[in-house]
């Protein structure tokens, strides 16, 4: 009887923990979505004078993965990294100032949206050249291994990046050297406007297996909790010193670059992402959105104001930090 009560209490506690966790993940995902929606509103004002690659629709991947990581684990990401920046804990003020090209930005305005980073919370430099940051994660993981550290590195990339040669080089080297790296593929099925079936003659997981690399695909790319758990499972392999390929299916709602929809161009139709929207918790859980939105909106407004009040980098910044 006593044992039964304890089980019940433990179950209740874990349910509460789980609710708490869901709320935390949901809030971060909503933050990403609302930040990007604010970017869409701001874009016509030309305050952000650089290309933006929005992750609306893909938020759950960044949120689920980053929640499973330790604070000192490193993420190497891509030009589509607003989500990873926020999910890893980057400063919202510095992000907006960076997008605005201001001195108060993460990189004094020299990086912009495509090169966001927050090394203080483990988001290393993002690259705009597809696939090029994948070996950086492998190199950081190699260093962790050399030092006997328990830290891991995550290489974030899209499905298109796996067509690049350096992806294969990185898998091979990581498998040979047994370094603690998680290869995280955000599979949105599109490279700019090209569909995967026109680009790939291979299956990503079967390909990874030929290197002896353990791997898994998650089809429920809207499900933050499932992604978090899949990442934790993968990390148990990675922390034991074996690379892992985690492929997560997801949906890019917006155009490749820019703030608009792209269904009217005819290369894909809105119905292509209807199945994603039908399961999108940020669209379905209106009650939780309503509850969390006011506070998030205030944070975003404060960040935009911080950016607005930050100076433009002056001529003295043109030739600093080169070597």
């Amino acid at each position: 009887m006593a044992a039964g009560v304890a089980d019940f209490q433990a179950g209740e506690r874990s349910l509460m923990d789980s609710d708490e966790r869901y709320r935390r993940l949901f809030r971060t995902a909503l933050m990403i979505r609302l930040v990007e929606e604010r970017i869409i509103e701001l874009y016509p004002s030309d305050r952000i004078q650089s290309p933006v690659h929005l992750s609306i629709g893909q938020e759950a991947v960044a949120v689920g993965v980053c929640d499973a990581l330790n604070a000192d684990d490193l993420v190497f990401a891509t030009y589509r990294s607003h989500g990873f920046y926020i999910a890893k804990g980057g400063s919202l003020d510095k992000m907006f100032a960076e997008l605005y090209g201001r001195i108060g930005g993460v990189s004094k305005g020299k990086a912009g949206s495509m090169h966001l980073s927050a090394p203080e919370v483990g988001l290393m430099g993002s690259s705009a050249v597809v696939a090029s940051s994948i070996p950086h994660a492998v190199g950081a993981a190699l260093s962790f291994k050399r030092r006997g550290s328990s830290r891991v590195a995550v290489a974030v990339f899209g499905d298109g990046a796996t067509e690049e040669g350096v992806y294969h080089e990185s898998l091979n080297f990581a498998a040979l050297m047994k370094v603690p790296v998680l290869f995280l593929c955000e599979d949105n099925g599109l490279a700019v406007h090209s569909f995967k079936n026109a680009r790939q003659s291979y299956n990503l997981l079967e390909h990874a297996k030929t290197f002896g690399i353990e791997c898994r695909r998650v089809d429920e790319g809207w499900d933050m909790m499932a992604i978090r758990q899949a990442t934790l499972d993968a990390l148990s392999v990675v922390r034991a010193g074996r690379p892992f390929v985690l492929e997560i299916a997801t949906g890019r709602y917006k155009e490749h670059v820019g703030v608009g929809d792209d269904f009217h161009f005819g290369y894909r139709s809105a119905s292509d992402i209807d199945s994603w929207k039908a399961k999108d918790p940020l669209l379905l859980d209106a009650k939780l959105v309503a509850e969390l939105k006011p506070e998030i909106d205030r944070e975003i407004a404060a960040a935009a104001e911080f950016a607005e009040n930050s100076a433009f980098p002056g001529r003295d910044e043109l030739l600093t930090d080169i070597i």
Binding site: G105, V106, P119, H136, V138, L142, S143, I323
Partner: protein
């Protein structure tokens, strides 16, 4: 940097080959800096990158010196990632031509990392390239890409022409330089013996140009093995015609000491540029640009330029011998600058420089 011994605490010298200097500096880097590692194709094999890494894998272990798969871009990316978290990677390319497979990482990433992220991250690392020449290296084992790399802000590019240059530059690059460095070594130099200072330099030596031989009649600005060719030619014209050539080893391609170069040209009024690569859009063009910007009137006549013929490198020896500037042509260029085309002085008969190097026994 100055190879003369006058700034040094000790005037003692010793003889050390170029490969030996490389091996000493690689060894010292691993001994002095536990965060250093060397990776590249064949760094741990019995040839050890022409003797420049031989025995280091055995001495320091596979965590510090290791072979890699054929993955130039991946290897360079791995080096960047390791550098970002505090390791110091040294990568090697047994022929410089293979570094073109790593251009994306070197040019798009390593060179830009510090600036692009506003100075909050950097990736100090050393990328060693070996330029091939002679015995039919052909079009893809002979390229000398100093101008290519020096074009991109963020990269430091050096071309050590002597054992002393290696001893002076590599330790401080590895210990202190904040960013990525591309060092372009020359295969023809590897087996040459040089006199080097027995003592360590008393203070840091700038990674920049230096006067390799003082003279008053004509300035030769040279890179890598062409510095030795210029010194040999200088000796020849001094003996045959009493002409005093000032030879400047550009040494740093990305950050030369232009004041030193311009000061010398202002003094002599005559200029020969001797580079290991093509003249078009290269070091020769950059030297001339600096002259034009500062004071084109300092030149008494149009400068002479020596470099590879404007073609991919041919394999046939008969063509290869005329593809590169010979000692004959180097002397001719110097004499013509100083005495005009009717100088009437006998030229050296040596037309194949590499044969000269086979006969040559140092030390320089």
């Amino acid at each position: 940097m100055n190879v003369s011994t006058k700034e040094r605490p000790s005037t003692q010298t010793r003889v050390l080959s170029y490969a030996g200097a490389l091996l000493e500096t690689m060894d010292a880097a691993l001994a002095d800096h536990p965060n250093t590692f060397i990776m590249g194709q064949g760094v741990d094999d019995f040839k050890g990158i022409f003797g420049s890494t031989t025995g280091l894998a055995q001495k320091y272990g596979a965590e510090h010196v290791f072979d890699v798969p054929l993955m130039e871009e991946g290897m360079t990316g791995v080096a960047i990632g390791a550098a970002l978290v505090g390791d110091y990677p040294i990568t090697t390319h047994i022929r410089a031509d293979f570094s073109f497979l790593a251009m994306n990482q070197i040019v798009n990433l390593a060179s830009k990392y510090r600036y692009m992220f506003g100075g909050i991250m950097s990736c100090p690392m050393l990328i060693r390239l070996v330029v091939g020449r002679s015995w039919g290296q052909g079009a893809q084992h002979s390229q000398s890409p100093q101008a290519t790399f020096a074009h991109y802000p963020g990269l430091t590019v050096v071309m050590p022409s002597t054992s002393q240059a290696i001893l002076d530059m590599y330790p401080q690059i590895i210990a202190r330089h904040p960013g990525p460095v591309v060092s372009i070594e020359h295969r023809l130099l590897y087996n040459l013996d040089f006199s080097v200072s027995a003592g360590a330099p008393s203070k840091p030596i700038p990674l920049t140009s230096y006067v390799a031989r003082e003279g008053r009649d004509v300035t030769v600005v040279a890179t890598s093995v062409m510095v030795l060719e210029a010194l040999r030619a200088a000796q020849y014209v001094a003996e045959k015609a009493g002409i005093e050539v000032e030879v400047i080893d550009l040494n740093s391609i990305s950050h030369p000491d232009w004041d030193l170069v311009i000061g010398s040209i202002r003094k002599t009024g005559r200029l020969v540029i001797a580079d290991t690569s093509w003249l078009e859009y290269g070091v020769a063009g950059e030297v001339c640009r600096q002259v034009m910007l500062r004071d084109p009137a300092m030149l008494r006549q149009a400068p002479a330029m020596l470099g590879m013929a404007a073609a991919p490198c041919p394999t046939a020896k008969s063509l290869e011998d005329i593809y590169y500037p010979s000692q004959h042509e180097t002397v001719e260029a110097i004499l013509t600058q100083v005495r005009g085309s009717g100088h009437g002085i006998d030229l050296p008969v040596e037309r194949s420089m590499t044969e000269g190097y086979k006969r040559f026994r140092g030390p320089f």
